[in-house]
Structures are given as C-alpha cells and as structure tokens.
Symmetry: C2
Subunit: 398 residues, 2 copies
C-alpha cells in the first residue's frame, strides 16, 4: 500500500490551507521549480539550439506521453503530449469522424460534457459544412441514444459539476456494437480514477495535465489513439512535427508513424519539464491505490457533511464506483458559502447555478484534511457565514 505521507511531502502546499481544488489546478510539486531552473539555465541557457537533441527536447512529447499512458491503461507508445485539451478534442474528433462508417453525420455527446468539448465540435462541424449534427442528450440518456446514425460518441468521463462517472467499458462496447467511434475526454479522470483505455477498447482519448496530474497552470494536453487506428487516423492538424520526416522539409505532408502523427508544432519544453517532475510523484504509488483512497476520502466527506450540514444536498452519486474524485453539493447560496469557506482556508470552487465542488486527491489530501474541512464547512453553514455581504461579490473566475 502506498505511503501517502510520502507523496504529500512531495508538494509545496501553503501552510494552513486545505486545498480541495486540485480537480481544477493541482498544487506545485516541490521538485518542479528546481527542474525548471535546470531546463532554463543549463539547457536553454547553455545548450541553446542544441538542446533539441542534447537535452532530449524533441522526444519529450512521447517520453512524457508514455508516463501518462501507464496511468490511463494505455499501451506504451500510444500517447503524445502537446497543445491544449480543446485542440486535442478537435484532433481526436476530426480523426474519429473520418473513421466512422460512411454517411453518418451525428456526433453524440451529453450535457454533462465540459462546454469546450461541445464548442470545439461545433467549430469543426461549422468548418466542415457537411451537415454534421451535434446531438446533446442528458448524461443518463446516452446509452439509449447510441444508435446507428451516430458517427462518434464524444464524452467526458466525469461531469465537471456533479462528479458523475460514465461507465467507459459499457458505453464503448455499446458504441462499437453500433459501429460508433468513441472519443473519451479524461480531464477529470487521468490521475484520479483507474482508467483502462486498452481494456475498454477505447478508440481515442484526450486529457489535460493541470488537474490531477499537477502539471501547472496551462500545462500541455495529451492524446491517445488506439493501436488499431494509429497508422490510419488522419491528422486534421497536420503540423510539421507530425510529419514522417520533419527535418526533410518536404513541401508535401506525409503523416508520421503511429502516435507521432498527432504531434503538431514545436513542443512546449518548459511546461513539459514541470509536468515531468509532477509525474515523478507517481513513482511512489499506483493509480489503483490512489483510486481506492480517493473513494474512501469522498465517502468520508459525504457522510460527514450529510450528518453535520443538512442544508447541503448531495449532487454526486453515492455509489463510489459511479463518481470521480470530487464531491459536489447543491446549495442555493453556494457561491457565497464557498467564498466564506475560502476565507477560512478551505479551497473548493463553485459552479453555477448552485454547486459547491470539492476535489480529493490522495497524493496530498488525507483524512485529517477532510475532517478539518468539514469542521469549517459546518461552522460556515451553522453560523450562516454565507449571508455576509463580503462573500457575495462575484469575480470572473472562481
């Protein structure tokens, strides 16, 4: 069993803060700053252009991708880093549409998907002008809407508001039975749940690394392409580093082998360096240990809050197998209540219209934190701190 005190010791966490927002932005790994100094001063500063070879920058996107592959049940050599999650969604979706049965025009998604995924689909559809349709159903209606007119099923495993977790294996199986290609967004599951892409037979997957993987603000995204599609998937974003021979500088594009073709432009070396250090922490644990502990922590939080804060109504599935690594509660004054909590050192966040959201990441959150957070939450609720005017002013980002 993992020593989670050891993993916690690998983060720089501000004194006196209980950070339950790692599902939005993970905290700073202690080793990341020194690694960044090294890449800047000893690599960029000293090696300059030769760093691309000497320091291994050019291979960084697949090297880091392989480390993430381990955490999401992907085959080695089938994950590559780069760009942002929205760009990776576009890339995966465009390739998936190409692989779908001729004539199918429907992209099926759900209203629990993160809006950016829906927006990217909308942008792609409007560019293609081929009468594609983005069909958005309620999360609980996805299964019955996987019909034979669907080209691609595009889902985010965990609903960013409620924490509800889709059954990737069941939905992928259902999709394949109808000839539907799947695109899974792992934004809230990579590093949080025991994702098993290969076992589930997923076609494409994408994810970000600034949440449960602690890569830092704006850390690069990743894309997975199943081995069976890797050499046939067409890269719509056909950049030079996805070319079969980028340094031949041919005028014609020829896709690289396998996952290499999903590379686009010059890799974000500095950001990937911070991420590499964050991934070192996973050498001390396993994703199944993390998942088990996460389920324990979320269960504890739910039971404590329900018994001590009757004003809050659970928005997250009670069955631990059906939720990600966050717990959400409905509360009409949720925005102000969250501001009050934050002022007392418990950082969660708020999602409209009334969701108070708390992320639990076993790498640095333990039972003591959970109990301390509930103590403060109980105080906020019992004394109606949310009713104070200073907590009601809204800022742009929460």
């Amino acid at each position: 069993m993992t020593n989670f005190q050891a993993t916690k010791a690998m983060f720089d966490l501000p004194e006196g803060l209980i950070y339950l927002d790692g599902n939005s932005l993970g905290p700073l790994p202690s080793a990341a700053s020194a690694a960044m100094q090294d890449v800047m001063q000893n690599q960029w500063g000293e090696m300059l252009i030769t760093g691309w070879n000497k320091a291994g920058w050019m291979d960084q996107p697949t090297r880091v991708g392989d480390r993430i592959a381990r955490l999401i049940g992907a085959e080695p050599g089938h994950v590559v880093m780069g760009d942002t999650l929205s760009i990776k969604v576009y890339q995966a979706l465009a390739a998936a549409l190409d692989l779908a049965p001729e004539g199918r025009k429907v992209i099926l998604s759900d209203s629990g998907n993160f809006p950016s995924d829906l927006y990217m689909a909308d942008g792609l559809i409007k560019s293609l002008k081929q009468n594609h349709e983005l069909r958005i159903v309620a999360p609980e209606d996805v299964a019955e809407n996987i019909t034979e007119d669907v080209a691609v099923l595009m889902l985010t495993e965990v609903d960013y508001r409620t924490g509800r977790l889709h059954d990737m294996k069941a939905l992928t199986t259902l999709a394949h039975a109808k000839g539907v290609v799947t695109v899974w967004d792992l934004a809230h599951t990579a590093g949080a749940t025991d994702v098993r892409l290969s076992e589930c037979n997923a076609d494409f997957a994408v994810g970000c690394t600034y949440k449960y993987l602690n890569g830092g603000p704006g850390a690069p995204a990743f894309i997975y392409v199943a081995p069976r599609h890797a050499d046939t998937a067409r890269p719509a974003l056909s950049g030079w580093l996805g070319h079969d021979a980028p340094f031949a500088f041919d005028l014609d594009y020829r896709p690289g082998a396998g996952i290499e073709r999903m590379r686009v432009g010059t890799p974000p070396v500095l950001a990937l360096t911070a991420l590499e250090k964050a991934l070192d922490i996973w050498d001390l644990t396993t994703i199944s240990d993390v998942r088990q502990k996460s389920q324990d922590l979320t269960a504890l939080f739910i039971s404590e809050v329900e018994s001590r804060c009757p004003q809050l109504q659970l928005a997250t599935p009670r069955d631990p197998a059906k939720r990600g690594s966050q717990v959400s509660f409905h509360f009409e004054q949720g925005y102000a209540a969250m501001q009050a909590l934050i002022s007392r050192g418990v950082i969660g966040d708020f999602r409209a219209p009334d969701i108070m959201r708390f992320g639990f990441t076993p790498l640095y959150i333990d039972e003591t934190d959970v109990r301390a957070a509930v103590d403060i939450l109980e105080d906020v609720m019992t004394n109606a701190l949310w009713d104070r005017p200073e907590f009601k002013t809204r800022s742009k980002v929460t």
Copy 2:
C-alpha cells in the same frame, strides 16, 4: 539610438560562444529564470487556483499580445497569444477562407514558405472536402499568380532558407485588388524587421515567439486579426476561452468580442511568463533601431565572407530591404562546414540541401561578434576543416 550593449547585457550568453542561431531559438533572457521561480513558487505555489484572477493569468494572452502588437505594427487589442504557430496558421487560414469571396477555392502560397504552414493548409483542405486547392508557386512568381480565383494568399514573409523578404505592402495591395484575403506568417520577421501590419492593411498574421522574441523552446504563438475582421472572423477552433462568456458554461458557443475569439484553451501561464520577461528587453530599444542595426550586421557579414571565403555563394538577397535578419550561403559541404564552425564556438545552422544559415539579432550580436565569426569561418574554409570525418555525421535536428 539604442544602447545595444545594454540589451546584450540582458541575456545569459554562454562564455566564448558566438550565437548566430537566434532565428531558430533565441537565447535565455537573464531575468526569465527569476520570473519563472516567482510564477511557480509565489503564484502557482501560493495562490493555487486563485492565480487566475489574483496573478492576472487569465488576461496574460491579451496582455502579452499587446506587447507584441507594438513590435509588428498592429493595433493594440488585436493580437492574442496561445498554442503553436502551426495551430495559429490553421486558425487564421480557416477564418480567411470563410471571409474570401464565395466560390473561390485556391489557397496561394510559395515554395519558400515553411513546410508546416503548407502541411496545415493541406490538413484543413482534406478535412473540408470542398475541393480547395493549395497552389504553391516559386517565391518570385507570387505576384503574377494572385488572380481572381484565389481565395487566400498565405505567405511567410522571410524564406527560412534564403532569408528573402517578401514585400508585404505590395503583395497585400495586389491581393486586395483581386479580392484575396491575406495570411502573413511572421515567424522570421517579428522582432527582426519593421513589420507594419496595420499600414500594410494585412488581414491576418501569425507568428512564433521563440526566435527573435526569445521566449524559450516551444514558447507560445500569436495571432493578429485586422480590426475590420475582428468581430466577423469565425473561429474554427472555437474553444471555451474564446467564448463570449467562458465562465457561464453555456452549452452553445458564442464567439467573444474581437481578438478574444481567437483564444482556444487554457493559456500556457509558465511559458508566457518567460516570454513576458523576454519582451521587457524591448523597452530598451525600438524595432526600427533593431532593423537598422540588423541590416548593418548582415551587410558587414556578407561583405566580409565574400571577400574572405570565396568558396561560399550568397543565397540571400544583396539588397538589405529585401532580406530578413539572416544570411545564408550555399556550400556543397555545408553540413560538415557548419559542424566544424559549431565545434569552434560559432553557432549557425544548416538547411538541406546545401545552405549554411546565420541569424543576426542586434539585441545581443554586435560587430565584434560578426568579425570574430568570419575569422573562424575563414579558418574552417581555408583549412578545409569540413573535410574531417568527425564533422560529417548527421544528427536528427541541427
């Protein structure tokens, strides 16, 4: 007149090296490391999720964009940072095609364009399946090929091999006379030449920041949209941060006002922080001073090399107004000769089949450097050092 000793002092340049490859990757600005420590430890580490507001991360893409706007003659509020140059090419090209006269199907470019731009156009065309054509002509034939069937003229101002500079004003004027929309790639001109987007009436422009802007390996790209198109250009890559109200989390996409709509995903905060420090150096100079000095340095290099190294044949236009900030020479054994030069501390690079390429960036290269580089080059050539076997082995990236 600028004090270029002061700008040079703002870089960490390795002792004893003459770095003539800033047109590929600019060197480390001295202040960048400390700024990175600050953003990591005091912002990410301490503020965590609240950094998006408190540290101004959310506005960083437009704040930094405005600083670049000054260097490329763009109107303030019309440049935004993000992604890679290849992604920005795709974004600009997709929007430009939309704005082109109905029914036109040709994207005109030239064989001097950087291949990734051509690859991205190819990927877009293959996705659209609307019978677009990528027409690639020789650089000197561009003007006569701007005909009324052309939808978009997509050019990189400076040829990455020869350093030849297109006349943006003349070609844009010609393009507009035929109803053609223009996309200019400033990869080799932003920070190097006196780009005047607004004065030239350019429609779209894109560029990278790791060359003459010294943002670091894989630094983010930028996109410019002319004010007259800013509120009508359709963002094909319609990510949530380009939405009119990203934090409303609507299911439907509604493009943001002006350049905001060209934002896609979460901004690369760490990389943008390094770039911000690199841009501080420009507070000590002006782009016109830099351009003047660059023309002097390249002229000096050309005349010295031509008089002392008769084996080398100039590939760059002799007229300073017709070249960027690099000088290239043809030499059959150019690869080995460049390796020999590098081993002697003069860093340039090689581009197939026979181009030895030297970039001159007045911010940190002066006449003494130019003369010292030519001394070493003369030695390499006179003594045929390129003929030694140790210089003939090829590596993947040069």
